[in-house]
């Protein structure tokens, strides 16, 4: 069964939900890729997202792996384009017209008003992910430690994610 059109539909839609960050689209991504299309399981989605945090560049590149699983190389390419082209086009148009809107009084209101909502969407995505990944004392401790370390020290988050993997191997493999 050819899944390419479905991949394009799903990821072009998810693209437009990434207000404030990729995590904002996570609840919807879980519903569409796991519950609706059964492309992968919820734990696998969480694993891919998390591994993606260790890769350089924009932090939602895990979508490439989903595309690859569902539709091979072509699937990976169309997923990449579907996920980035719509918002890129929007950003391009805004770059062209934003200067002209400089004196429009609602411009500042839109920016200020969307800020709390986009942070809320990030937090909602984080809770959706925590439901699947913070399952016990050990994982809870890892999450809290990462948060506290980042608040306290100027440390590269990618290092902490690698540390999470190492701790995971030593403490979680028996379960």
């Amino acid at each position: 069964m050819n899944q390419i059109p479905a991949l394009i539909r799903v990821f072009a839609y998810l693209s437009l939900l990434t207000v404030g960050g990729g995590m904002a689209a996570f609840p919807e991504m879980k519903i569409l890729t796991v519950d609706v299309h059964h492309w992968l399981s919820f734990p696998k989605l969480i694993h891919l997202y998390s591994v993606g945090q260790m890769a350089p560049g924009p932090n939602m590149m895990m979508i490439v792996a989903i595309g690859q699983w569902v539709g091979g190389f072509a699937g990976a390419i169309v997923t990449l384009i579907a996920f980035f082209a719509p918002t890129a086009l929007l950003a391009f148009l805004v770059a062209r017209f934003w200067k002209r809107l400089e004196r429009w009084p609602w411009r500042k209101s839109i920016q200020e008003g969307l800020a709390p909502v986009s942070i809320g969407l990030l937090l909602a995505g984080c809770f959706t992910m925590a439901k699947g990944s913070v399952t016990g004392l050990e994982t809870g401790a890892i999450a809290v430690c990462v948060l506290l370390m980042l608040l306290q020290y100027k440390i590269n988050p990618a290092i902490l994610v690698v540390a999470g993997a190492v701790i995971g191997i030593f403490t979680l493999s028996a379960q």
Partner: protein, 202 residues
Amino acid sequence: MSDSAVTPPRSPAESRSASVDTSILAIFLEFLIIGATSFGGVVPYLRAALVTRRQWIDDKEFIEMLSISQSLPGLNATNMAVLVGEKLRGLMGSIAAIIGICLPGAVVMYVVGVFYRLHGDHEWATAALKGVAAAAVGLVLYTVVSLSKKALSRKFDFVFMAATVLAVNRLHWSVPRALIVVGLVSVLFHGPRVGEKARAWR
């Protein structure tokens, strides 16, 4: 695509950076390097490369572009690439920048995806991934905290933030529905004051 030597400068900041004639290839390579080296978040790497090293944009422009990137859908990294590319060389500049910044991570995740499918069920791999996922939750929480400190100007903003979380996680609203409903109320709440509006339309 306009020749930057011919078009008249629109602002002092632009005239300074427009004198640096930037080729499409240079834009592509610079963003390719950022895309390949920016572990753990792109924004500081963007600033180091574009403002400090290349001086394609100044700090004020950088912050303004970042705030536009944050209020638009799309990732900060790719929106910034499009905005900076557009500023330097129009449409082709945008395309070169976004392909450059996406390419390395996409290749990495393609390979990871293939390996994960083959070896992801190994016991040690599953354990490592559980640890990684828990760390990622802490990472997103940190992003939420630091963004709240920077972007929330009024106490009441936390009400909109909480309303968004409840709408998505408790009421199971779709993300666009939450975005439109709560976003609309919030934007109206932040609407220009009567005085400002009157001044703008005078």
